[in-house]
């Protein structure tokens, strides 16, 4: 039996922007999928056996059953479709689902596309309320809590327990926005200083405006298939280094931060997801064995927590490690070369797919030279929902 590990055949993206009012959500999906078809070197979608819609925010659109609508818009009928939703982790969970569909033999090829209009279609204060619906509404949201405050409360314990400093997580806010400057598709490239971050207006202490990620419009698409399918259908497959989606891990945690007491500093679900993925990929020293990673920087401090939970550094040492530049573009393990959620943007259903696209393009050696990491062979994406409530870690590797 041939190996059914899914290969990445093609990728497509729209630019992420705060307001793509020239497009509705269908138009965005179309742009990303056309880009993906071109990139995959396939003539059309006729040979694609399955569609997978990655979409989270029903309340942002006056349209439910978006899986069916988009599938139809893209001309994928009558092939099967499934929609995947997992909060902030939606895109990564979609890819994980697609991985299982191919691996199991349910299909040999699957088009995963995600899109969202989280930018300006709804006022940002209403948008924050709608996102708060993904918290425990009866107990956390009705008292007046916000996601920024939940994350901020976690970070405060991290600061108290490990001595993590605001300057250290401000480093993430500065670096990821600087990385975004080398990404023409990024929403908010900025050249700012640590002082700019510390002095921007406070949202929920200790987080300021520049510690917070973006609301975005955008779409992303990625075509996965078996190697046999790719060799028969894709004119570009043989042209570039083969990249496989080799491993995936998923872990969960309680909805409410308070139910994790006394473990408030870190994401236990992320730790579980990473361990599964590493076991499956045969990784024992992730800092050494991973060359490039896209981490879920919904808030600057979250990246510090993530480098600990992904096992890049021991718990409590994320702050100094980040500030030392280990995860900068010229560091030992460059992360968020795309600009991350802070600089590139975060249209939820597209985010996890876009993270994977950045990693895959780094492995292919196809990003613009200012951003390219030389000789990257293995990359990781880290994506989560809520405050680490559903965590997904996906791993991509060159096979040559």
């Amino acid at each position: 039996m041939t190996d059914r590990t899914p290969m990445v055949i093609g990728v497509g993206l729209t630019p992420f922007a705060s307001n793509r009012e020239d497009c509705n959500v269908r138009d965005l999906a179309v742009e990303a999928v056309l880009d993906c078809v071109r990139d995959a070197g396939i003539e059309n979608l006729d040979a694609v056996e399955h569609g997978l819609t990655s979409y989270e925010s029903d309340h942002f659109n006056r349209q439910m059953t978006l899986g069916a609508i988009l599938h139809d818009t893209l001309g994928l009928n009558p092939t099967p479709n499934v929609r995947v939703e997992g909060g902030g982790a939606t895109g990564a969970l979609a890819l994980r689902t697609a991985w299982a569909y191919v691996k199991s033999g349910l299909c040999d090829s699957i088009l995963v596309y995600g899109c969202e209009t989280n930018g300006k279609s709804i006022a940002s204060q209403t948008a924050n309320q709608l996102f708060a619906l993904s918290a425990d509404v009866d107990w956390e949201m009705m008292v007046g809590g916000t996601y920024t405050a939940f994350y901020a409360a976690m970070m405060r314990v991290h600061m108290e327990k490990y001595g993590t400093k605001r300057e250290q997580f401000a480093h993430v806010a500065v670096r990821n926005r600087r990385n975004a400057a080398a990404n023409p598709y990024a929403q908010r490239p900025m050249e700012i200083s640590i002082d700019d971050v510390l002095n921007s207006r406070s949202i929920a202490e200790p987080y300021t405006l520049l510690d917070c990620s973006l609301l975005s419009d955008g779409a992303a698409a990625l075509l996965l298939a078996t190697e046999d399918w790719a060799r028969q259908r894709s004119s570009r497959f043989a042209e570039r280094p083969p990249v496989a989606f080799t491993a995936t891990g998923c872990g969960t945690d309680t909805m409410r931060l308070g139910d994790r007491y006394p473990h408030l500093t870190n994401f236990a679900g992320k730790r579980a997801a990473a361990q599964q993925a590493y076991r499956s990929a045969g990784i024992t020293n992730p800092l050494e064995e991973i060359d490039v990673a896209e981490l879920y920087d919904s808030y600057s401090g979250v990246e510090i927590q993530a480098v600990e939970d992904l096992g890049f550094v021991p718990e409590g040492q994320g702050g100094p490690a980040v500030a030392d530049g280990i995860f900068d573009h010229d560091g030992a393990l460059p992360v968020n070369t795309s600009g991350g959620l802070l600089g590139r943007g975060a249209p939820v259903g597209a985010t996890g797919i876009a993270q994977a696209i950045e990693v895959v393009q780094q492995l292919w050696g196809e990003v613009i030279p200012e951003r390219q990491i030389h000789n990257a062979r293995r990359g990781l994406t880290d994506t989560h929902a809520g405050i680490g409530t559903i965590c997904v870690v996906n791993i991509f590797e060159r096979q040559d």
Binding site: E21, G144, L264
Partner: protein, 176 residues
């Protein structure tokens, strides 16, 4: 913009192709119209097996639930202990506790009238209630600069009417 017969019209414009390179494949699709859609709804929201917590707040009593198997005390209450899958029992707590973490919010959520009435900044405190095993998140009404991890607080009960029964309570500093 010329006069329109569309009353929900926000804007009509001709968009420029910002990202598509020299030749715009969507050239014939660049006239854009943006309209407003409304969606207002109310929910008949049952508080279900959690209801007694809210009913007792009105009597000035603070209840958690206790697992008969592992003895963990949940506040907020859980009718089912997720660790043991045992049905829990109601247990009154004294309502005093200790702040384990907090955030001072400078932008209020607009989730209900009770929250809208709060003056910013608002302190969201996670409190380990004496006799409890989990942290209860709620507003701590005091000067934000005085809040710290380890601070002693107690449940206070609202005197004026509230929209959502969770606002029948809040936290205040405990003077010991």
């Amino acid at each position: 913009m010329s006069e329109s017969r569309v009353t929900s019209l926000v804007e009509r414009k001709n968009m420029q192709a910002k990202w598509t390179g020299e030749r715009d494949p969507w050239e014939a699709f660049r006239q854009v119209e943006v309209i407003t859609l409304e969606l207002t709804q109310s929910y008949r929201h049952s508080l279900g097996k959690y209801s007694r917590f809210f009913l007792e707040l009105e009597n000035g009593r603070f209840l958690g639930t206790r697992c008969p198997t592992c003895h963990k005390v949940y506040a907020p209450p859980r009718p089912l202990c997720p660790d043991c899958l045992s049905i829990t029992a109601w247990q009154e707590l004294p309502g005093t506790g200790t702040v384990q973490t907090f955030s001072v919010m400078h932008f209020p959520s607009l989730v209900n009238d009770d929250v809208r009435r709060l003056e910013t900044p608002i302190t969201l405190a996670y409190v380990l209630l004496d006799g409890g095993s989990t942290l209860f998140p709620h507003v701590l009404k005091t000067a934000p600069e005085s809040v710290h991890i380890g601070m002693r607080v107690k449940v206070a009960y609202a005197e004026s009417p509230v929209q959502h029964p969770i606002h029948l309570m809040y936290f205040v500093p405990l003077e010991e």
